[in-house]
């Protein structure tokens, strides 16, 4: 028997609030354990500078920035279906806005990161309507062309070093918040204290971005976004303003990408258009991380970035050969594990640490 006999149908009258025959949740026992484990890991990472060597903090700074970019691209392309290969545009813009704010505007680094985020979001809002006229592969190509154009524009600013770039004075870092306290607390030189503070800023951003994305994809707007990606016409037919939600996502992701660009180049202290708008450094790595880790999961990019870090660590002695190795690995994973390493493991053993699906249950006493 395929259809139940019709019961009463609450199509007209609101169902009574007390009427809770059904309940929905995305939580599992494992997800509660994962939350506690996550908090413990976070506490460990916060305290890490007390014992870790400087090189580890620098490596982890790289890991956090790439992980943030990967989570952002994952929500943009995986959940939103906006497969951009031009996110380096916003890394570069954010970085340049930071250098302009510090170099020309004499602002402090932290305010400059915030300004970079806002400025990048505004530029994304301006170019979004043009890109959104393109669909599928044309959107991807368009996003890349937009990034190249913005690189050329940035190379025109003589006051920001033109095509060759510019450096930040080391005095800039003296206004980093907490720098003096770190120096005193750990008894370290200013250069090391700077790395510690930048490490904490990167950690704070990656945690906030991951939590925000996790909340978003579980929210009603996350559902609407996924519906728009799966079928735009059907989503419109059930009341979703698909253009608006995609646009909001595009702008928010670009703004956060700009903040990461600003932070990354604050740490590097040197910028050039070719580096800041590098498709290898800021898009190829990020796509690698998401694809081999597992698209459309929170855990996937975390797994992916650990693998990237390991590969860079072991392969960097072979020069640019390691890019080839990354490429081969990415292709193998795409062929044999289309859902990525985490995706395959999660499917095989049915584990999700950060589940995003809403599951419906009938309450037992009914």
């Amino acid at each position: 028997m395929m259809l139940d006999r019709p019961q009463h149908l609450p199509l007209v009258a609101d169902p009574a609030p007390a009427n809770t025959v059904w309940r929905a949740t995305s939580e599992t026992r494992l997800s509660r354990v994962a939350r506690i484990a996550g908090l413990a890991a976070l506490a460990g990472l916060i305290l890490l500078p007390a014992i870790a060597p400087r090189t580890l903090l620098q490596d982890l700074f790289f890991v956090f920035t790439i992980l943030t970019l990967a989570q952002l691209w994952n929500v943009l392309a995986g959940w939103g279906g906006l497969v951009s290969v031009g996110q380096q545009a916003f890394v570069g813009l954010g970085a340049y806005v930071l250098f302009a704010a510090i170099g020309l505007g004499s602002l402090d680094p932290v305010s400059s990161i915030a300004i970079a985020a806002v400025a990048t979001a505004i530029i994304a809002a301006l170019i979004g309507p043009l890109l959104f006229r393109l669909e599928g592969p044309y959107f991807a190509i368009g996003s890349w062309v937009a990034a190249e154009s913005l690189r050329l524009v940035c190379a025109q600013f003589k006051s920001l070093g033109g095509g060759t770039g510019m450096s930040l004075q080391s005095s800039v870092y003296s206004s980093l918040p907490g720098l003096k306290s770190v120096q005193n607390l750990f008894g370290v030189r200013p250069a090391i204290a700077r790395d510690i503070v930048l490490y904490w800023i990167a950690l704070a951003i990656v945690v906030v971005v991951m939590l925000a994305i996790y909340r978003f994809v579980k929210s009603r707007h996350g559902l609407a976004l996924a519906a728009s990606r799966d079928n735009d016409r059907a989503a419109g037919s059930v009341g979703v303003r698909t253009d608006r939600i995609r646009f909001a996502l595009w702008v928010a992701v670009a703004g956060m990408t700009g903040a990461i660009g600003a932070l990354a180049y604050l740490q590097k202290a040197r910028i050039s258009p070719d580096a800041a708008f590098s498709v290898t450094d800021w898009t190829a790595y990020v796509l690698f991380v998401v694809i081999i880790g597992g698209v459309r999961t929170i855990e996937g990019p975390v797994v992916g970035v650990m693998i990237l870090w390991g590969l860079i660590f072991y392969l960097s002695q072979y020069g640019s050969l390691y890019l080839l190795v990354l490429g081969v690995i990415a292709i193998l994973v795409m062929l044999f594990m289309p859902k990525g390493i985490w995706g395959a493991a999660s499917h095989r053993w049915n584990v999700q640490l950060f589940p995003t699906q809403r599951r419906l249950f009938r309450n037992a006493y009914h």
Partner: protein
């Protein structure tokens, strides 16, 4: 509210794709709580009519009026929130979402109910449409018949005042078809007006108050179901008898 009993009115709606005329000067009135059937051969323009009503297509000429308000320029999502729910002839599920999540989107954005209400609404509709056991299954993994059920269920979750159904009975067994008819009758009891495009005529006739026969984008004839079925226009369309 005016004394006007009509819920939905189409006035002189026309649409052509190049040289192919798919809607030609269509006038149609749907009264409060009425159920209207639409028949006609493949390619007659039935699904196109739904696309015009729901705003997925814009007419070349004519106006569409929903409860006294001209909605001809309104985008589809606003028409949904104004009370127009539809199913697609070729199911368009949100494949990476579960069945329950498919309905949730409709309840939250179409019916615009709260999260807590949406859970109850979706649960009720899933059990009504026989999808309860599939609630947590990905919609992309459903077989065709369940996808069709999902079309009906998702449209219902927008809590429509006018429900547009496009060929949902094809492929059902007699028993399933009987239950579907029961379900649609139940939906009508809630005051929902219905336009139902259907080739399974006996199911359609068990529900509708009026019938429209479309051919080449034109209303060939309309009226009481029995009269329309007996009309020489319908005989001509279906039997090839010249009118």
């Amino acid at each position: 509210m005016m004394a006007n009993r009509s819920m939905l009115e189409l006035k002189g709606i026309s649409k052509a794709f190049g040289a192919i005329v798919v809607a030609s000067d269509i006038d149609l009135t749907l009264s409060r709580g009425e159920a209207l059937g639409v028949i006609g051969p493949n390619g007659a323009g039935k699904s196109t009519l739904f696309n015009l009503i729901t705003g997925m297509l814009r007419p070349d000429r004519g106006r569409i009026i929903l409860e006294g308000e001209d909605i001809t320029q309104m985008p589809p999502e606003a028409r949904c929130r104004a009370g127009l729910g539809r199913s697609f002839q070729i199911p368009l599920p949100f494949t990476h979402l579960t069945v329950f999540e498919n309905l949730s989107v409709a309840a939250l954005f179409g019916a615009q109910v709260s999260e807590a209400e949406a859970v109850q609404l979706c649960g009720e509709i899933l059990s009504l449409t026989g999808l309860e056991t599939k609630a947590n299954v990905l919609a992309g993994s459903l077989p065709l018949l369940d996808r069709k059920r999902l079309e009906l269920a998702r449209a219902l979750a927008t809590r429509p005042r006018i429900l547009l159904l496009d060929e949902i009975a094809g492929g059902l067994t007699d028993a399933e078809c009987h239950l579907l008819v029961e379900t649609i009758r139940e939906i009508r009891k809630g005051g929902v007006a219905i336009i139902w495009i259907e080739h399974v005529v006996h199911a359609l006739l068990a529900v509708v108050d009026g019938l429209i026969a479309l051919d080449f984008g034109k209303i060939a004839t309309q009226g009481a179901p029995a009269d329309v079925m007996r009309s020489k226009e319908v005989q001509a369309i279906y039997m090839g008898v010249p009118a």
